[in-house]
Symmetry: D3
Subunit: 290 residues, 6 copies
């Protein structure tokens, strides 16, 4: 018996004509890929990284969350979207004091994701949504998305979003969380809850900690509340091992399966919402003012 | 009679020992630069770009604002900070349909700013604050700041902030503005007001427009209110000429000198606040978990 | 009900002390990653690409084969090896005339894989085996492996191999195949058989073709027999669409589940053999002859 | 009262039709930039660096000189030229033993300046003159200028010159200087005189020195007389701190305001002369000899 | 009397019309280069490196062999081919413990050779054969060749081959050699024999050694027999100084002039064979499947 | 009979102890390379390019001249210098309208030459002289030389010179030439004379022309007299095909063997002079002023 790391369920569904539809790009034949592009489906690309997430979680938290959210979102709207295979090794040099972290040089990472997007653009996709699961990928992915727009001369719309940044998650975050500001930063109430909802067998909740070593305002992060408690937007990221002992920043002990399922549903809805916004977006043509 | 584009006023002040203090790095001799680094003063680096800002403003809006805010802020606290000469050519490929725009390739720009910061680090500065005046520089400068931290192995704290993102400006923005969401995006109520406060002779208010062509939520930007009206954080930037005819997005007609002076004061206070936070920041040492 | 693309089976097994052992790096916590490196386990990294594989196979053939072979091989010897998460987007510019293909610029791809390896080296892994599933990745991965050796000053042994190049597969290929030279080039008897053994639900054998458009000797490839029929080793690769209409080169119609299972077993054994060779390899120290 | 580092004087003048003309690109609106390019005005770009200039001069000598010479030259001929905002951080790795020096990696610097020029070319400027104030920028700027020509397929003429290399300065140098060969190398009779003419308030002449540590012929430099006393043209540049204690090479004590004013006038005339030569230059079209 | 390192013999021959034909690109005028390209002659580019080759051979073994084989091959078929000036500094970082080795960074080397090929393509050559004399150049040159194909959109066929990999040499190797597997790896029976046939005055056979320090199968190389004794194709290259004391791997003592002359003739025939295959190769046009 | 493009003469000479000395690096064994570095011999590296040189000269003029001058110079002083194998493909994008030209991207070329120099530095050479034969290589080679100094932290002195720029050639140029300013620019009186002295069999003097199409002062070049007739030093280089029809700029008809022999001797003497200056140069240690 084999290990088969790709599941066989849900890889397709029946469209309104009674035909089976695949939604995973990887499982399509090349003519099916061609048809998906021609049909105007939005390409959804999960991106993440591997890094320490406390004593209680595996290093693949960012990967599992981004990938599962996208897979489930796209599975619900196969006529409208296609799931692109994830880029799972990202940008995380400041975590390298912790074993397990894999990091790619910033420019290599930006170009790698850009090349995935440009390949899709080459095949006719005109709407691409990058869904990110790792905070420090945010600026690099903004670059990848912008370069995709620029290098296609504006023919392709490419957007990047963090799954904790979509509207429904941000709204849910205002009420569902139990921790205070700083409680949902990394391997925290939010991420642990989601992981519990997806792979409870890999979570050791007895090792979960509440670690919130005080830091200056500029070093504060909170996924759900916005970057800083004071509302300013300064970016500053010291080495992670100077900010935490366990790898956690936030309160992982507040995590529950129930919260995870609610956040998961909100994230899925948020991705679907953005897919539809992108799909429907019409923008005016460029004008040459010279 | 000369043109002297560097003014002679305020280049120094008297410190508490009665000695004259220079605050502009460019005007110091090399032993003075050495002393400034040894004294633990924070290096403040303005960064911006040149690009279209409507019919009523010159292309140097981002440069003038970032530079003047920093110059005035540092001039008030010469014992605590040093003004580093600005990097004025930034990242703006999506504005190239408009004459005047100068844009630097993304990786060249990131490395250029990083090299300025690493030069300062080489000379002993351990606290660097990048103050940005151009929205599309945000992600590149986040990269430059992070690379400075990483390549100095964490010995240097380097932060990046947009002047409209500092706490006092964000707070003031809630009450002072007259335009609605979307009114302070580009060459807008906020930027025009600031320019009026600094160089009224170069503003042609009779050519100021209120241009807010409707766009999908993902394309919305508002400097003072945050990116999108719906609270999500997706990043997407089409070519500028597809979003505006004049170059303006927002309501420039709402700009006044008075607002400009108030925002200028808030921005100066915000920079000073961040300088002091950086200067006082002590972080725990890195730990090697291998 | 969820889509969970990561299976829950076989992610761990019991070692000789009766303890459960994880073999997938992605599922480990950071202290477990640390322990795996300290235990001297060999890091096994699958690499592949997405590209056209005829009308009868999905575009993820190279990914599925490389990943499953490695996953199963490592699952059998968790004390000796660790499965590193795959790099699945590779180098395939000459396939871009076919929809579905994703290609990464050569130098970006080489550096990306190198950075994964250097991250592992940073955490103490000293033996890394890259297992490749895509022919045109061969030279780039040779570069990645060599750069890993060079940049670690020889402290790390990093080897790269194609799964069809391991000893047991090459030996089996001499007897098991039914096609002649050129029959196992791409989406062919070999690859289709393996895919049938892994995901028969995704194979449409009625669309499988036997396509062997005659080409000069230098353009010939055969995975199992070696590059050229004449034994020379010239490398030349024109655009794929000039060599095939369907995307297939070789005889896909000769593929069977039985052959696939036999090749799969041979490939697994080959990977295990190489892991053990690498693990046992002791080399003399470097000498400085200056 | 503000610090306003950009002066308000001379930013425009009246052209022969009685209209006001701006000559600084930075102060133009985008339609004005467009008109300037269409009018065939020559783009004049000052480039320099920040580095030690002895005990008696600030680190911005190269910046102030290049920028002021260009500003004054262009102000005199606004119908013919436009002043582009300066690139002030240049290439000076060999000065990094001296505090204050800022250096940009060679290829980053070359590309940065090239991108400024290509942006101008994109907007229709066909004649660009780079005026350099820092010796070690010479080769990088030659590269930037050539790349501008090559990447525009020859549609743009881009030249680079050092301000001490223009004809009138070289001629004046034969008679006006009081020091012997080697006396005008760095922070010397020439540079100090010019700075005295521009910002006497920042010069501490009592700290000026005459430092000419003997070096082999290949290491000799003299701005006004040409590189070496023996007339050969070998390029060799050791670390600056091995050639001088104060940072000065040459005789700063010979500097006077009067010499500075004369050299300033000569440099201004030299820039104007080159602008006019570039503006009038017609070259034959390219021929394809294949 | 002069040193003239370029010989005067054989630089041309009489073609079938009685006209003198040059076969060395370097000795042609530009109109002759143009005519050579238009005539469809194949460009043959030798590439090698300088590195230690035992106590008995100079460091230029790879250069002399590749260059002489190509020169003699092309001299025999001037109507069909042109000898391009060699690229002699290659990729050999793992030999740097041995004095004499010159190594170029991998990406610089790949791009350098690619630029030579693209220059030839620009002038109309459509068939390029790279003939390599250094094992570790193999993957980089495969990249250079592929990039040439890709960047010319498939208009140019560019192949790369090692001289020991051409058909006649491989066949001869089965019978002519006296050493066992591993005997022809580096500075060995094969290379020494060839050098003896070309420059016996530079060979000190009394210093030739038989050095075959046992290594794991993956580290084994044999130029004539294929990489590994077990038939697998794993690539792994440790630092050379850990594999040999003298620089030799193999049995140099088995080398003779007679073997060298036979291998030389076989290599020349092999290059000619490949030139003709390339020249005659017609491939089908690309098809866009979108 | 073979083609042997490397001559056998003069590769060694007898030193003062009666031992034979090799002077060509390429012909040394690795222990001999080691001894040469330890003996403090200066590494002399010829660099050039291939490009059109009129109807009367082959494309290898720059290569033959630089290589022969260096070979003969080093052959005379083997105790003091070593001849490094030439880098013959250089930077010449503006000549690509002429068949035959080979050009390497600017940054690739700079890094390639730098890597040759750094390899030599790694082996202990501390004095390197680059002798250039191609005008447009001047700035790139200045960069390579400087980077060698910088990346070795000043332990290595690396200088670059053009053979027409050495003192004896410049002095001889004042009297020996018959053409006026502009007569010795490219494929001209100077280069043709030298080629006549070295390989008269390859020169077709009946095809030599006198071509001096008038150009603005900034475009003027004259190898022997300095760049411009007016003494200024502006750098500007349009595409070559816009400046000449034949490829020649200057008066090739004035060339004679006698002049060539005289210039050859002067160039050899100039190289020897620079080798000795470099070898004898002692510079003060660096000082850290922080």
């Amino acid at each position: 018996m084999g290990s088969l790391i790709f599941s066989k369920t849900l890889f397709s569904k029946t469209n309104d004509k009674g035909e089976t539809m695949k939604y995973r790009y990887s499982e399509m034949t090349w003519p099916e890929c061609n048809a998906a592009a021609k049909a105007g489906r939005v390409a959804v690309l999960p991106v993440a990284t591997y890094e320490d997430h406390g004593y209680h979680l595996p290093i693949d938290v960012d990967v599992l969350l981004a990938t599962e959210i996208c897979d489930r979102a796209v599975a619900r709207i196969p006529e409208e979207a296609v799931l692109i295979p994830a880029v799972t090794h990202g940008y995380s040099p400041h975590h390298m004091d912790f074993p397990g972290t894999i990091t790619i040089a910033w420019d290599t990472f930006i170009k790698y994701v850009k090349d995935v997007c440009l390949s899709l653009a080459h095949h006719g996709f005109t709407r691409i949504l990058i869904v990110n699961g790792h905070g420090s990928n945010t600026s690099p992915l903004d670059m990848s998305a912008r370069l995709t727009v620029v290098e296609t001369e504006g023919r392709v719309l490419c957007a990047a979003v963090n799954h904790w940044g979509v509207r429904p998650v941000r709204e849910l975050g205002k009420t569902l969380r139990d921790s205070e500001f700083g409680g949902t930063s990394h391997a925290c109430e939010y991420e642990t809850s989601l992981y519990l909802a997806l792979r409870p067998d890999l979570v050791e909740m007895d090792k979960a900690v509440d670690e919130k070593i005080p830091v200056p305002a500029s070093f504060q992060t909170d996924l759900l509340a916005g970057k800083r408690a004071d509302g300013a937007t300064a970016n500053l990221m010291p080495f992670w091992s100077s900010l935490t002992d366990s790898g956690v920043r936030g309160d992982a002990t507040k995590a529950t399966v129930e919260k995870g399922e609610a956040f998961l549903e909100a994230a899925i809805e948020g991705v679907i919402e953005l897919v539809r916004e992108l799909k429907g977006a019409e923008i005016r043509p460029r004008q040459d003012h010279h």
